[in-house]
């Protein structure tokens, strides 16, 4: 089953859609002419929707109606990508990729024919096939290669997405139509994010760049708010999650910590603002303490040495994989990361102390 023109308008990120745009023979330098105005307007609208809060179902079905004019709809996508990239603003770029991917997800899961979804998936080189027979007493729609499944579930944390909770047979993961649509959303988001990297700015005409600048200013408040959350200035031991609390106690009393525990503890403390010197001192009571070695490792993790990137502690899930998480499922609530636990807990402790 091939993708029709209105399909390309629905899925403008596919290679077929890119081919279509090529055939239209649009020139970037002509974008300011009146002929192209609908495309430019539509591209800006895409970005505005991405930056607005209103991502409701109604919005998506509205988008479906828009696909009636493929000659505008299809080229408006690559232009919107260029504009988002030209903004040079991480928030706008991230938000735009997410929006387009979510929009695609909503449309894909409404597709009635599995063959159509298969076609979109294959446009991303997925190894996937439609399944009709029941497996383990359940009906599925697709069997997807292990590689494509794993490549697209990296950001998921729910237990139903864990490989161990899926049916895996002969290198294929069995999935429903709904699940495959969700994985395609991830794939699309990554593809768009990749395309946002190159700097398109120099090639865009002045009037388009003005539109980009206006957008940036209008949404600057939101972008700032999304910038990284802050931790209290001094370390609040009472707000440590159970794992860190235990490792901290062990380090203080000179008990042995495994490599991953040392890494988790050190990166956690550095991220919440403890000084490298204080972290080094923490390990001083260990029987095999070696100042040179400890300093090297702590400074490496803090980003003062080597790659210059500050390391972040492992997620709760990773700590569980290595058997380091000391508590039962659900004990820490919904938190998926020791740092998030700490941030929420410090926030709560602060509001308790000010309200009393």
């Amino acid at each position: 089953m091939a993708l029709t023109r209105s399909d390309l308008a629905k899925y403008p990120f596919t290679l077929d859609a890119a081919e279509f745009v090529k055939l239209l023979d649009l020139r970037i330098e002509n974008l300011e002419s009146d002929d192209y105005k609908p495309i430019v307007e539509r591209a800006e609208e895409r970005l505005r929707k991405a930056l607005s809060d209103d991502w409701t179902k109604a919005e998506y079905s509205q988008l479906l109606e828009d696909v009636e004019i493929p000659d505008v709809e299809i080229p408006s996508f690559p232009l919107a990508v260029m504009m988002a990239a030209a903004s040079g603003n991480e928030y706008i770029k991230r938000r735009y990729a997410l929006f387009e991917a979510k929009r695609a997800y909503e449309i894909i899961r409404m597709e009635e024919k599995l063959e159509k979804i298969l076609e979109i998936a294959r446009a991303f080189d997925w190894k996937v096939r439609i399944v009709t027979e029941k497996v383990g007493g359940r009906k599925f729609d697709f069997a997807l290669s292990l590689r494509d499944f794993l490549r697209n579930t990296g950001r998921f944390h729910e237990k139903e997405w864990k490989l161990v909770n899926k049916i895996l047979l002969k290198g294929e993961v069995y999935l429903t139509k709904h699940e495959v649509s969700r994985l395609l959303q991830e794939e699309i988001q990554r593809r768009i994010e990749r395309r946002l990297n190159p700097e398109f700015r120099p090639s865009l005409p002045e009037s388009i760049l003005e539109r980009v600048e206006r957008l940036k200013q209008e949404y600057s408040g939101k972008a700032e708010k999304a910038q990284l959350q802050r931790y209290p200035d001094s370390v609040v031991n009472e707000a440590f999650p159970p794992c860190i609390s235990q490792m901290y106690g062990a380090a203080k009393s000179g008990s042995h910590l495994s490599h991953i525990e040392r890494f988790a503890l050190t990166s956690f403390l550095l991220n919440i603002g403890m000084k490298p010197e204080d972290v080094i001192n923490l390990f001083r009571s260990s029987a095999d303490f070696n100042e040179r070695m400890t300093r090297y490792q702590v400074e490496h993790i803090s980003g003062e040495r080597g790659s210059r990137t500050r390391y972040v502690p492992p997620t709760c899930e990773t700590l569980k994989t290595h058997g380091v998480c000391p508590v039962a499922e659900g004990f820490c609530g919904r938190f998926r990361h020791p740092l998030i636990y700490y941030r929420k807990k410090t926030g709560r402790l602060k509001s308790e102390s000010t309200s009393s």
Partner: protein, 414 residues
């Protein structure tokens, strides 16, 4: 710590070996993209970030230096000799390390010894979490590969190979299994389609083979009731994947569980009594869909604890850190293990049952040496048994002599 004479002797033997055999080492795929690491006898530190454009360069390096340990990266890099952050990671093989150290074996590791680094207190078996005298947590360990340990590790490797071929769909040609040269097995997957997977994806595979995060409700278990939930159906023993493993795990556990075992799961007296007295019925029930309904006194939480134990028993005991590390250096096949003088050897997956880890990895097949053995338990190497020895001079075949020297249990007589 090995004495200089002993060290020099071992190194001269390693050197002889590499001069003759280095050409026969199998070059890893894309050798120019791999990082290499070596531990030399004298310096005792890891030299890493080495790279070889051609296999011949690597061979002559081995002949010249005769290292105690030879490693290369599971990862492929643009420039393997650069510092870590500039190497340009291109991908990595999927790699599993199974080591008897991580498995509770029937021998109880009675052949291993540990000494507390804090107070010098010593004991046999696996080192405790904490020293009973001074509460210190780090120990000097002397470990020994016994037949029971090696057999347990092999069983884990068989379980892993099963999952990789049946469930992950890898062909036997893509899966390389090796004996580590000491107490474990390594499994390496060179499948190109999996090469680009990042660490989170490797972690998911780790969780799959270890059963971490497994929720019974996705594996054929059915539950009824809202307030007082109970299991009404479960998987069958011949089901595929984790379903069958969980069912078999439950059957084995319930068939052999003692009162103590059940107590350790937190079951109350009533539940324990019911399981013990219905053992016959439980065994029979597997022919008709399982014991879910016949055990009336077992509630949801108690079943959950039993299922958890079943998952643990079926999980593959791998070193989770090794597989999730996509920059790992691993021992190279057909090189010598400096801690035993045995080879790391690879073999076809189908041959694992017949593989003899105390015979097939023997490298030094010629000559004898007279050494002074401080202490060694009885052990087998090849078809011969040796020992036990205690403070005595003995003449041994070269492989056995090198083995004891490398283990630090003996020294050369000068």
């Amino acid at each position: 710590m090995l004495e200089m004479d002993t060290l020099a002797f071992i190194q001269s033997k390693f050197s002889e070996y590499y001069v003759e055999e280095a050409e026969n080492i199998d070059a890893p795929a894309s050798i120019e993209q791999r990082e290499f690491g070596f531990i030399l006898f004298k310096e005792k530190i890891m030299i890493r970030h080495k790279g070889f454009k051609r296999f011949e360069d690597f061979v002559s390096f081995l002949k010249q230096t005769a290292p105690a340990h030879v490693y290369y990266s599971t990862a492929y890099y643009q420039t393997p000799e650069e510092r870590m952050e500039n190497k340009g990671w291109l991908g990595a093989d999927l790699y599993f390390d199974i080591d008897a150290d991580h498995i509770h074996t029937a021998c109880g590791k009675i052949h291993d010894r540990w000494t507390c680094k804090g107070c010098g207190f010593a004991g046999r078996g696996m080192a405790p979490d904490q020293c009973p005298i001074c509460n210190n947590r780090s120990f000097e360990e002397k470990i020994w590969p016994c037949e029971v340990c090696l057999e347990s590790a092999k069983l884990e490797a068989v379980k892993l190979l099963d999952i990789l071929t049946e469930e992950c769909g890898l062909s036997p040609e893509e899966v390389k299994v090796s004996f580590s040269g000491h107490r474990g097995y390594h499994v390496q997957v060179e499948d190109e389609s999996l090469r680009s997977l990042e660490s989170v994806a490797h972690k998911e595979i780790v969780d799959y083979v270890t059963g971490t995060g497994l929720d019974p409700l996705f594996h054929g278990f059915e539950v009824s009731g809202l307030k007082r939930r109970r299991f009404t159906a479960g998987p069958k023993m011949d089901d595929f994947g984790w379903r069958g493993r969980v069912a078999r795990g439950i059957r084995d556990f319930l068939a052999s569980a003692t009162e103590e075992d059940l107590k350790s799961l937190g079951l109350n007296k009533k539940a324990i009594d019911e399981i013990i007295k219905s053992k016959e019925g439980i065994l029979k029930s597997w022919e008709r869909g399982g014991p879910w309904k016949i055990l009336k006194g077992i509630n949801f939480e108690q079943w959950t604890a039993i299922i958890k134990r079943a998952v643990e028993s079926q999980s593959v005991k791998i070193d989770t850190v090794v597989t999730t590390d996509i920059h790992r250096l691993i021992r190279m096949p057909k090189t010598l293990h400096g801690g035993t003088g045995l080879l790391k050897v690879s073999f076809p997956t189908d041959d694992i049952e017949e593989f003899d880890p105390l015979k097939d990895p023997v490298a030094f097949k010629k000559g004898e040496a007279t050494i002074y053995v401080e202490e060694a338990p009885k052990f087998r190497l090849g078809d011969e048994e040796f020992g036990p020895f205690k403070n005595e001079s003995v003449e041994l075949p070269m492989a056995a002599a090198i083995f004891l020297l490398c283990k630090g249990a003996a020294k050369v007589i000068t």
